[in-house]
Structures are given as C-alpha cells and as structure tokens.
C-alpha cells in the first residue's frame, strides 16, 4: 500500500508553486500531482519520493496535511489498458473515489493511482485479477 499526501489550500494564486518549492528545497521528488478544485478551497494530492518527510515538512511550514493510502497499479502503456482494469474493478464492485495516472516508460509501463473505499478488498481483488500493485517502497523508488 502506498501513501498520498494531501494539502489543504485556499484557492489563491501561488499555492502550488509555493508547495513545490518547499519540497524541492528539501530534496523531495514529486512523482505525481493532481489538484481538486472545491471552489473556495482546493486539495493538492502528491505522490512524493518520501511521503513521510513530505508530510512533516509541509506541516512544519504551516500547512494542513493529511495522508491516506492509495493503490498504485502497474499497467501497460497501451490503448485499452485503463478500460481493462476499471471494468474489472467495476465487476468486483470496487468503488473508486479518486484516480490519476502517469507514464513510467513511454509505450511500456504506466502507473494508475487509485483511492478506493475499501483498500484491503481492492488490493486483494486487483492482485487476484493478475495486476501488480506497487508496494510503498516500489512506489517511492520508481
């Protein structure tokens, strides 16, 4: 199980750059980032090279930060790959609350980050379907 760091920010200019600079200065590599716009506030979701340190540093800088588990699924970078896995999850009645992906090696490998309602069951189901889920260390060492 991997972890994602979520930062609460007001919808003001400069928030992302401010956070990115803090992590950069502290030698933390951002592997993936997405933002949720909730109107007057937003959430920045980060997959970091060192989620624990990222969490503590941002906390120290005065941000409100939460951490939650995500599942990282290793996939093939080809048409239909995403449909395959999501159809499968749908059949198994796994509900996805958040998802985003990024390429590891173009044409070869990609990673799908998933937030689900029931992590343990989801992991079991995903592995059962022949997919590979990334462990904490693997996600960090991508």
């Amino acid at each position: 199980m991997a972890s994602q760091v979520t930062v609460f920010v007001e919808n003001k200019p400069g928030r992302i750059s401010h956070i990115a600079r803090i992590l950069g200065k502290n030698n933390i590599n951002i592997r993936a980032i997405t933002i949720s716009d909730r109107g007057e506030y937003g959430l920045i979701n980060i997959i970091a090279s060192d989620p624990d340190r990222a969490h503590d540093i941002l906390l120290k800088e005065g941000f409100s930060v939460s951490r939650n588990y995500v599942i990282g699924v290793l996939m093939k970078d080809r048409p239909g790959a995403l449909a395959d896995i999501t159809e499968y999850l749908n059949e198994s009645e796994i509900n996805i609350s958040n998802a985003y992906g990024f390429i590891l090696k173009s044409g070869d490998k990609a990673v799908l980050i998933l937030e689900v309602d029931d992590f343990d069951r989801a992991e079991e189901v995903i592995r059962g379907g022949g997919f590979h889920t990334l462990s904490k260390e693997e996600l960090v060492n991508l």
Binding site: F8, V9, L43, S64, V65, S66
Partner: protein, 431 residues
C-alpha cells in the same frame, strides 16, 4: 375624505388633545405595570405631567431577560391568551404576553397602518412572513382580516408555490422581507414572469430587515408597485408601531398607543425633534405586559413637521443603526456573540474563526471563516466536509440563519495582541 382614514378622530387628533390622552393612558399604564414583579417599586403611581416621564428609569432587553418568564406579567396568567417569545436554544429568552384586549388593540393598529397605505377590502393580501413566534406573520394576518381584505396565509419559503398563489389568486398586496423579495425576482426571471405585466401586485410591505432607500426603490421598480417601510419590535407587539403613509416620507408612530422618545444613548438625556438618537417607547394600551421607557437600541430621528396626509402623529426616519452590535440577517436578529458561542463550542473550531459582516445586495450578510488546522484535516476531506456541515447545523439551530462558511488555511486569520478581534465589520457605510 373620511375614507382616507381608518380612525379619523385619532389619526388627525390635535397635538394638545393627543398629549392629554397620552398622559391619561400613561397613568393607567403605570397603575397596571405596578402589579408586575419587575415594576412594582420602580415606577411612580401617578405623574402629573408628561415631562415627569424622564424621571422614570429605562427598561432594557437585559431587564426583560432577567425577568423571564413572568417577572413583567401585570395580570394573572389566566388573562393571557397569547405569547410571543424570542428564539435561540441557549442564552436567555424574552417573552411578551398578550391579553385578549392587547391582541385586539394590536390588530387595530395594524389595520389602521395597512389602511393608511391604501389597502382595502377588495385587496388580496399574500402574507409571506413566517407564521409562528415571529410577530410579523400573525400581526399582519389579524390586521388584514380586521380590515377586510382577503388574506392568503402563505408564510415564508416555498418560492414556486408563492408565485403560483400570486398568479392564481391575483394577489395585490404582499408582506415580505427585502432579501427574499430580491431572491423572488430572480426566480421570476427564470420562469419568464414579468411582475409588472403578469402579476397584479400594487403594494408591498417591507419589514423585519433594515434596508436602504436604494433597495426599496429597486424593489418598487422591479415589481412595479409601491413599497411601504414599516417599523416594529415584538416588545411593542410587533408590526404596527410605525408605518409610512402614502407620501412615503417617514413613518408615522402611533402616538395614541406609544410614547415616543429619542434619547442620547450614552447619557440617557432626551433629545429634541430632528436630533438623531436611540428610540425609546412606552406602551399606552398594553395590559398583559406593559413596558415603560423601553430602550430599543435602534437609532433614528423624528420628523415633527405636519404631514400633508393630515395625520398628526410624528414620523420617524428609517433606522440609521444600532447602539449595540445586533445584526439583522434575512429578517432574523442575530448577535455576533451567539455565533461565537456556537463556534467556540465546536472543539475543532475553537477560537480559530473570523466573523465578517458584509453588505451583499444592499443587505447585511455574514461570512464565517474557519481555519482548517491540522487537527481537523488529518482525517481527510470527508471529515472536513462533515465538520462544515456540523458548523452549519449548529449555527442554524441556535440563530435560525445559515451564514456562509469559508474554509481557510491555518494561521491565515489575523492574530492580534491582547483581546482577539473575531468580528470584522466590512459593510458599506451608507448615508
């Protein structure tokens, strides 16, 4: 023309006779009030001159709260047929008791007021004010029935139904709070209704919220009707204390039923006509719970000049402000302290909030900023959303309003040295 007046004799009484009438009724009031626990030894048995009024102590909201529930009752409870009480689930409440005659007199004042603005038996009156403990609903209801118009006791809310009623029954008069009227207009636009052509509205009573002249004119233009300002407070029954006549240049206070004083809020000294100060009322006809020299907290001035309408009762200006920090949001009285208490009682919020008072669409509006500190965010977004919901519900239960809640970053609210400033007034100061 007699038909212009509901009660010509009283409405056009000469000032000298009015003052004699006031003195007579004041003495009766003093006698009645002395039967209550609160006034028992506080007031003289009789006075010989209206100028002696200034020697009688004031009554404040606090006094009403402290004498809750029956401290100011001046008759036996069996004589009381209705009460109106303030809302709020914490803090002390206030209550006003009415005998049958009190209701009758109040009703007459409202009928008189409505008649003055031109309402007649042939009118259809849609009362869009909340019925219940709010005096605005029942007050105008009874007054309208006394006058003989056809009343639709619509109460507030359910906008689609309100519009339907207006169309089905060709309502000609409405009683509505200004902020709701503005909102209703946006619905009209959505439904393609042009109130000027598609509806029969000709008169609107705007009450329960202080509003600017601009708002009133705007509503008159949008709806194509005459809007009349009115002023009332539950301590003085409710609506029917002061009302604009058709000249719409100040509100006549019914001086046969209330002694009107304007005082300097800091010194308590009486001020002259035309000077701005705090309105103080003494009831002249109330039996169940007479109130003497009640400090309303509202600031206004009198217009003593003769009114071309022929009525000799002095007019007051619109309310210019308050002596305390009470706000009126969507027709509801709110003290910032009530809100603060609710917020501080929620452990996740504690004292990390800021209450901003703003002017939105010419009316008072609240925006409550709450810091999203680590201790509430570490649980994730779902917890945050449920917290926001809880804050909103608690506020609604206590104050009856649902102010806007804005979540902000931790430590982003101004910190001050010494006493924390948690209420900021950002309203437009209008003339």
């Amino acid at each position: 023309m007699d038909e212009a007046y509901w009660d010509k004799e009283i409405e056009t009484i000469d000032r000298h006779s009015l003052q004699q009438l006031q003195l007579e009724r004041l003495n009766k009031t003093l006698e009645r009030a002395s039967k209550s626990q609160y006034y028992k030894r506080r007031i003289p048995a009789k006075i010989n001159n209206l100028t002696a009024l200034k020697d009688i102590p004031f009554t404040t909201k606090s006094d009403l709260r402290n004498s809750f529930p029956e401290g100011m009752l001046a008759v036996s409870r069996d004589e009381i047929v209705r009460l109106h009480a303030s809302s709020g689930t914490t803090g002390r409440a206030t209550v006003i008791y009415h005998t049958k005659r009190d209701i009758d007199n109040w009703t007459d004042l409202v009928a008189r007021s409505m008649y003055m603005t031109g309402v007649r038996k042939s009118d259809v009156f849609q009362n869009m004010m909340g019925y219940g403990l709010f005096t605005g609903g029942l007050g105008l209801h009874y007054g309208s029935e006394r006058l003989g118009a056809l009343i639709i006791p619509a109460s507030s809310g359910n906008s689609k139904r309100q519009i339907r009623l207006m169309k089905d029954f060709h309502s000609t008069v409405v009683h509505i709070i200004p902020s709701y009227a503005l909102y209703l207009y946006t619905l009209f636009q959505e439904e393609g209704i042009d109130p000027k052509n598609d509806l029969d509205l000709r008169i609107a009573f705007l009450g329960a919220e202080p509003h600017s002249e601009e708002t009133k004119l705007r509503l008159e233009n949008l709806f194509g009707l005459d809007a009349y300002n009115s002023y009332g407070l539950s301590e003085m029954n409710g609506p029917g204390v002061a009302f604009e006549c058709q000249l719409k240049d100040g509100m006549h206070v019914w001086e046969d039923s209330y002694i009107l004083e304007i005082i300097d809020p800091d010194t308590g000294e009486g001020l002259s006509d035309g000077e701005e100060g705090e309105i103080v009322f003494t009831t002249l006809k109330r039996e169940g719970m007479p109130i003497i020299r009640y400090r309303t907290g509202d600031i206004a001035q009198t217009y003593p000049e003769e009114c071309p309408c022929g009525r000799t009762h002095r007019k007051i200006s619109r309310i210019k402000g308050r002596t305390d920090d009470m706000l009126i949001v969507k027709g509801v009285n709110v003290y910032p302290m009530q809100i603060e208490k609710v917020l501080m009682d929620i452990p996740e919020v504690d004292n990390n909030y800021l209450i901003e008072i703003e002017t939105v669409d010419y009316l008072d509006s609240l925006n409550i900023k709450v810091e999203v500190r680590q201790n509430i965010f570490h649980g994730g977004i779902k917890k945050l959303e449920s917290l926001k919901k809880r804050i909103s519900e608690n506020l609604k239960n206590e104050t009856l309003i649902s102010p806007r809640i804005t979540l902000v970053e931790p430590n982003s609210l101004p910190k001050s040295e010494g006493k924390a400033v948690r209420v900021v007034d950002k309203r437009d100061r209008d003339v």
